[in-house]
């Protein structure tokens, strides 16, 4: 199939310029601080992983003990990197899809500052030993309040931009965007209320932990995939009906999933069962999205070679399908009996937040950054390197953790096997994980270097990107 022509009418180009210029400063701020948190979070993550291999390394420094580095990693990459970069992408996307400049820009600047201070405060607190020890909610209340306030400012900007839209039809990416900025504040406030105890607190913890994905991170990833796949290829998304089915079944089922983190635990039986059911029902939205994306892309796979955006995005979208089916299976009791409490869960989490979300964020940033920084990516070779380091690294990561986790689970359920043997069994897989972590860290350094070059307009002056020349 021949690629559809570029749309180059002067009016259209001028309109795009107005939109992108309105988004430029806030989006770049969100991106730049996001990339800094990506680097910090990656270092925390790598150290955490190495701690398993060398428990006596740096063992006398309290701030670098495993139990503090791990939450520092989780929070820095989620509330720092993925949230900030995701928010930047959504801003740009909303302006483009509503065909109107970004509104409330002063509030956005305040939002970036507050958000970063919150993450800095929270991560520092965790490292210094003031973390709350409740997974995904470790930040002390003041830090959480800062992030919450920053989010409200961001949400206000998105909703105001949306209100001033000059389009009739609301494209599917907008549904996810608007829904997630409405959902997340409720979720965040409800989960941070300091009123829970005992088993109910456990339920709140995992209701939140899973919903952070369900109502914030996954909608970002899907909004971006729904936008960039058709945008780069230049044809409509395959089916509006699939989009509708996908969105509403997603909204209905996903936020019932959380308690599958407590299967076999001391929470009521019926509660575990409905979460398992909702997890399996996730097959429906995931199938709808996957089919929709696939049928849009079919016949255009050669763009994968020419466009880094599409390459990262399609990789991420495929991993979304994979991680969701894996999650549906994993929630079943038979599977939980083995893999619950093992490294498998960690592999699953990275397949979601990294291979799906982060890769899509990279793809989106490759598209958006030239438009808001007004410069072309300087080194296409380094972009390739970035892709292969991260894609290769995360593949090794997920395979190592999932295989190691299954073996660990079976060994733990073999009651005659002393616990020490279970530890020995996981050792090689944990080393493989650290190795993959080194690849990923390398990829992030490359990306950060490229991004910094974009900010300061370094590298050769180009009017066309090399990969787009090849595609034209």
């Amino acid at each position: 199939m021949k690629a559809p022509p570029l749309e180059q009418s002067p009016e259209l180009v001028s309109l795009r310029r107005v939109l992108d210029e309105s988004a430029a400063v806030p989006v770049l701020l969100f991106f730049a601080t996001g990339v800094l948190w990506l680097l910090a979070g990656t270092v925390f993550g790598l150290l955490t992983s190495l701690k398993f291999d060398m428990p006596d390394w740096l063992a006398a420094i309290p701030a670098l003990t495993f139990g503090r580095l791990r939450p520092a990693h989780l929070n820095a990459v989620n509330y720092g990197w993925a949230s900030l970069a995701g928010a930047g992408c959504l801003l740009w996307l909303t302006s483009r899809l509503c065909m109107t400049p970004v509104r409330l820009r002063g509030g956005l600047i305040a939002s970036v500052i507050l958000w970063n201070l919150g993450v800095l405060y929270g991560t520092g607190a965790v490292l210094l030993g003031y973390g709350g020890s409740v997974e995904w909610l470790e930040y002390p209340l003041p830090a959480a309040a800062m992030i919450g306030a920053a989010f409200l400012l961001f949400a206000a900007s998105i909703l105001q931009t949306f209100r001033m839209r000059s389009v009739q039809h609301l494209y599917v990416s907008l549904w996810y965007t608007v829904a997630c900025v409405v959902w997340f504040p409720f979720l965040y406030v409800a989960a941070n209320l300091p009123i829970y105890s005992g088993v109910v607190h456990g339920a709140v913890n995992w209701w939140y932990g899973h919903n952070a994905l369900a109502v914030w991170f996954t909608p970002i990833g899907l909004a971006l995939a729904y936008y960039f796949i058709p945008k780069v290829i230049g044809r409509p998304i395959y089916s509006y009906y699939l989009s509708l089915l996908g969105f509403w079944s997603f909204a209905l089922f996903y936020n019932w999933n959380g308690i599958h983190h407590l299967v076999g635990g001391p929470v009521p039986n019926w509660l575990q069962t409905i979460s398992i059911i909702a997890s399996v029902l996730m097959v429906i939205p995931v199938m709808a999205v996957a089919v929709n994306h696939h049928l849009t892309t079919v016949g255009h796979f050669r763009h994968l070679r020419s466009s880094p955006t599409l390459r990262f995005t399609v990789f991420g979208a495929m991993c979304y399908t994979a991680v969701s089916f894996q999650g549906s299976l994993e929630s079943l009791r038979g599977m939980q009996e083995v893999v619950h409490f093992t490294h498998y869960t960690v592999g699953h989490a990275h397949l979601g937040v990294y291979a799906f979300l982060t890769m899509i964020l990279f793809g989106a940033m490759y598209y958006i950054t030239p438009r808001v920084a007004r410069w072309n990516w300087p080194h296409p070779g380094l972009i390739k390197l970035h892709f292969w380091l991260t894609a290769g690294g995360i593949s090794i990561y997920v395979i190592a953790m999932c295989t190691g986790g299954i073996l660990q689970g079976y060994a733990m359920n073999e009651s005659v096997r002393p616990f020490a043997q279970v530890i020995d069994l996981t050792r090689p897989w944990l080393i493989a994980r650290s190795a993959s972590g080194i690849l990923i860290t390398g990829g992030h350094l490359v990306f950060a270097y490229l991004f910094a070059q974009m900010l300061i307009h370094a590298g050769p002056r180009r009017e066309t990107a090399p990969w787009e020349e090849a595609a034209a």
Binding site: L6, V13, S22, P230, G234, Y240, W270, S415, V416, A465
Partner: protein, 218 residues
């Protein structure tokens, strides 16, 4: 509000000269001209099998709900307990497995293979105390042991907690039997009845000392 022909200068780096600004705008225009149409929605019907699979999944989960929802109470484990009773496994309690008790309780101190830890935890492998009359081992497990003790020619002076509150008579017999017939030890098995008898005969007993144990009635 900047219009199409009035670019928003505020978003340009302030220190640039006019020529550089123009150049950047030129590059920006080039970038923006390389775009394809904004995404739109196609109106193809969803493939039929998507609906079929959806309906099948919903039905099977309805079945799952009926099968596994329990009694809508705060019971956390009723399903598993039912399964265990129904399976006939729990009907007659199986005798405890000594190796499991060892791995679960003794291992952190006496180590795999019963080697112990130099200067802290005495070995069980080849220990004369293990090989002695079973009445001694039973007492150590029931009430604990403290003070200096000679094991295989080395002196230890530490404290072993009593485990009588935690382990049943059958478990104590099983783990002692396991220790006495493994790690190179070859002493006869221990009977649950003997454990019960000693438990009966020594209510309120505190930790033993090596000396006190040497004088216990056979």
């Amino acid at each position: 509000m900047p219009g199409p022909d009035k670019p928003d200068r505020r978003s340009l780096p302030p220190l640039l000269g006019e020529a550089e600004r123009q150049d950047i705008l030129q590059i920006h225009r080039a970038i923006l001209s390389r775009e394809r149409v904004e995404p739109q929605e196609g109106m193809e019907p969803a493939p039929w099998w998507v609906w079929v699979v959806s309906v099948l999944v919903i039905f099977s989960m309805g079945f799952y709900l009926g099968r596994y929802s329990g009694t809508f109470s705060t019971e956390a484990h009723e399903l598993y307990q039912k399964a265990a009773v129904g399976g006939g496994e729990a009907a007659a309690e199986p005798p405890p497995d000594g190796s499991l008790v060892y791995a679960g309780i003794c291992l952190p101190c006496h180590q795999a293979g019963g080697t112990g830890v130099e200067g802290k935890y005495p070995p069980l492998a080849g220990s004369e105390w293990v090989a002695k009359d079973s009445a001694i081992g039973i007492r150590i497990l029931l009430h604990g042991l403290q003070g200096p003790i000679q094991v295989k020619g080395k002196t230890f002076n530490n404290e072993m907690p009593g485990l009588g509150n935690q382990l049943s008579d059958a478990e104590i017999a099983a783990v002692l039997t396991y220790v006495r017939s493994n790690f190179g030890n070859k002493a006869p098995a221990v009977d649950t009845k003997q454990v019960a008898a000693i438990r009966q005969a020594t209510p309120g007993q505190g930790p033993w000392t090596a000396q006190a144990l040497s004088g216990v009635p056979k």
